[in-house]
Every structure is written in C-alpha cells, then in structure tokens.
C-alpha cells in the first residue's frame, strides 16, 4: 500500500493509505484527530475544512496521497499547549457562535483563513460570502459573523480599518 508523509499540527506522520483514502479519513481514523468533522462527504457543508499549506480546503475532497509533504493544520492545532484558545475560538465562545457545534471546527478553520487573507479589513457581506462554503443548521449565522468580525482586530492586532466597515 502506498504511503504518505505529512505534517499535522507540527508533527510529522507517515501513514499507509489506499489511493482512494481521503485526507479527512487519515486525520480522523489514522491520527485520531476527530475534531475535523464529516457532514456531507460531497464538498458542500464545510464541516471538514482544514488548512493545507496555509489555504483552507475541504479535507473530504482531497485524496490523502495528494497531501504528500504538506503542512496540515486542524482545529486541534489552534490552541496553545497551555490551552489558551486561538482568538477565533475565543470569539466564537464569547459571541455564542455555536449551538450543536457540528459545523464549528470547519467554520473556525475557514474563518481564520478568511481573516488572515484580508489584512485590509472585511465587511459583513464579505464575511458572509467568505463563509459560503460552510453550512450551519443551528445558529442562523448571525453570531458567527459577529465572532469573525470580533476576531479580526485580535488576529491583526489593530482596529479594523474604517473603510472596510
């Protein structure tokens, strides 16, 4: 069986996989990182979003062998070793941006990528559009959008520019 070597949350792993094995299956079943969820398995819901080499991708739509040599970050890799949450996680908690929590890991991973890639600021509309690959059956999105806007100044360590509001 072919092997794939990848770095997940800073740790290198080599695992044997079939050609058709998905990245999400490696994360959940081989590495025990079950924080990454599977909602639809057909690239629609975003519960499975992780970062691969700095971009958010749907790990249910990436074959594990394609991650050869890649740096992967999952929801488990966000908090500091002492348990301090990433600002995005903190703001999700603060703004009650989750109910059942099923969508939350993917939502948080997408939101971090969105905020990081928009150093010029984000409007509410841009936040909503930027998260359109992530579905939430519970919250109605409103508090998620608030949490993302609140995390922007924390991640960029400055106030959100006026122009973007």
């Amino acid at each position: 069986m072919p092997q794939v070597t990848l770095t997940v949350n800073g740790k290198r792993h080599t695992v044997a996989v079939e050609g058709r094995t998905l990245l999400v299956e490696v994360l959940r079943e081989k590495l025990g990182l079950t924080g990454t969820h599977i909602g639809c398995d057909t690239s629609q819901c975003g519960a499975c979003v992780v970062h691969v080499n700095g971009d958010s991708v749907k790990s249910c739509t990436m074959l594990a062998l394609q991650a050869e040599g890649a740096e992967v970050t999952t929801i488990e890799g966000l908090a500091k070793p002492d348990g301090t949450l990433h600002p995005m996680q903190e703001m999700f908690r603060e703004h009650h941006a989750l109910q059942c929590g099923y969508c939350t890991p993917g939502m948080v991973m997408s939101a971090i990528d969105l905020v990081a890639k928009h150093p010029e600021g984000l409007t509410e509309r841009e936040i909503r559009e930027g998260l359109d690959g992530n579905l939430c059956r519970c919250t109605g999105y409103h508090n998620i959008v608030k949490a993302v806007a609140a995390a922007w100044p924390l991640m960029h360590q400055k106030a959100m520019p006026q122009a973007a509001e």
Binding site: G19, S43, K58, T61, M62, L63, Q66, E68, D132, G133
Partner: protein, 280 residues
C-alpha cells in the same frame, strides 16, 4: 501499472501518460465527489507536484494560465477587465475552499456541460496547450470540448496551459449565471461575453458563449455579428438562440432555460454598457 503516480517533472508525467491512459488529478474537486464510496476510476496521475505550473503569467501576445492555477489564483492575479467574466465565475465556483483547490484547466478538462469556466474561455478565445512526448499542439477551446464530458485530449496528452490572446484594443468580459440559489449550485444557464471596443465606445467585435444549454457550451455567431459596430445596451438585439439545444431536467425545463438565457444575455449587454469604462 502503479495505481498512483505523483511525478515531480513534466517529462516524468508525459512518460507516464505515454505508457498508458491515466486519470489526471489536480484539485480533485470534481473527481472525488463523483466517486464517493466507490473505487477510483482508474490509475491516477496526480499532477499537483509538477513545478512551475501554477503562476498566471503575462506574455507579449497572450496570458498563460497553467494547469495548476486555481480559481483563487485567478481571483488574486493582476489581470485586466478582459478577465472580469472569468473572475466573476471564479468567485462563484463552490465556496472559498473549492476555489482554493479546483483548477481552471480541471474545470475545462472535466467538460461538464454546466462548467462555469468554459463559456468564459470560449468568450476569451482561449486555446489549450496540449503536451505529450510527441510534441505540443494548440487547440481552440471550441475544438477541445467535444461534448458532455468529452474532450479532444489524447490519452497520452496533458493539458498544460491555456493561452488567452491579447485583444487589439480595450476589452471587457462579463459573466451572468442562473442557478436555483446563489452559491454551491449547478447552473441552469450561463452567459459569458467578451467585447472589444473601438475608440468611440462601439463594439468592435464581441464573442458570446452560453453554457448549460446543450451537451457543451457554444458561441452564438449570429448574435456576435449583430453586435458589431453597436453600443452595448440591454435591448440591443433579439438574440438568435438557434444553436442552443437545452434539455429538460430536474433543474429546469428546456423552455425555461431558453427564456432565462435571453434574459441573461440582456443583463450581460447591460453590464457591458455600464462597465465599459473599465475596459482598457
């Protein structure tokens, strides 16, 4: 034959294809969802480790979009208003994560009748650069896409890049699509237009393509001819939709598709008029 190859040079990739047919895999956003819980469709050639095939580049007579350029790369590239239609399509393909993974050439080679990229590539007059051990050939997108999920790519060939010719004067692209909702949906119909303008602001020449209204996207030469020499506005001409052959399916009836296409064409011409100042 190895079930999975991930070559790190183009020469190795072409050698593998010369040895026998393989399913070519780039972003995987079409391949995987169509094979959920089933074996992969054949031995795979994963091209994502090939070097120097990601950056969109401007050349003297054309732009080159290589085979690993993603939709996000199109959105982020410094491209003129000629590409506004392709950029709009890029923003509407799936969500951000699919845009980060899926490639423009993958969308073309997958050749779905509802591919958002293809009408734009037709309107841009794009050609496909096909490489094999036997050499390189260039085919227009209209000749490359032959039907529903059928292309002119030989099994030993790799579509390595697209070339988009530089227009003679200021040009603008627009893209309009209709789906049951705005995002994450397969289009019912779509319209892409690229217009080149003369100094007086009249259309020097236009290329108009319609997708999801037949086994493959098509240009509308009758409408294109009627637009030449005119100033763009919504009710300029009654479009000749004769080349289109839409189907009835779960998403829409054929009649609805034609009616919606006419409306999208009107909107596209309106957008050409209002955004003309962007053309450069």
């Amino acid at each position: 034959m190895d079930a999975w190859l991930r070559p790190t040079s183009l020469a190795d990739a072409l050698a593998a294809l010369a040895a026998g047919p393989r399913v070519i895999l780039a972003g995987g956003t079409d391949l995987y969802p169509s094979h959920v819980a089933r074996p992969l469709p054949g031995p795979i050639l994963d091209i994502t480790a090939l070097p120097d095939l990601r950056r969109i580049e401007a050349h003297p007579g054309y732009w080159r979009i290589p085979c690993l350029a993603t939709w996000s790369d199109v959105i982020g590239a410094d491209l003129p208003a000629l590409f506004d239609g392709l950029r709009a399509a890029a923003r509407q393909v799936g969500g951000v994560q699919v845009q980060n993974a899926g490639t423009v050439i993958g969308n073309l080679c997958n050749a779905s009748p509802a591919a958002d990229g293809i009408p734009n590539l037709l309107a841009l007059d794009a050609t496909v650069e096909l490489a094999s051990r036997a050499g390189t050939r260039h085919l227009g997108v209209a000749d490359f896409v032959q039907g529903n999920r059928r292309t002119a790519r030989r099994p030993d060939e790799l579509a390595v890049a697209l070339r988009i010719p530089r227009p003679a004067g200021p040009a603008l692209g627009v893209f309009e699509k209709l789906g049951a909702r705005r995002y994450l949906v397969i289009s019912i119909t779509m319209v892409a237009v690229v217009a080149e303008f003369d100094p007086a602001g009249r259309i020097r020449r236009a290329r108009v393509a319609v997708g999801a209204c037949g086994p493959r996207a098509l240009r509308l030469p009758g409408l294109e001819a009627a637009l030449a020499g005119r100033r763009p506005e919504p009710d300029l001409v009654t479009p000749d939709l004769a080349p289109l052959a839409p189907i009835d399916d779960v998403r829409a009836s054929a009649g609805y598709r034609l009616q919606a296409t006419e409306e999208l064409l009107r909107r596209a011409l309106g957008a050409l008029g209002t955004s003309r100042a962007r053309a450069a």
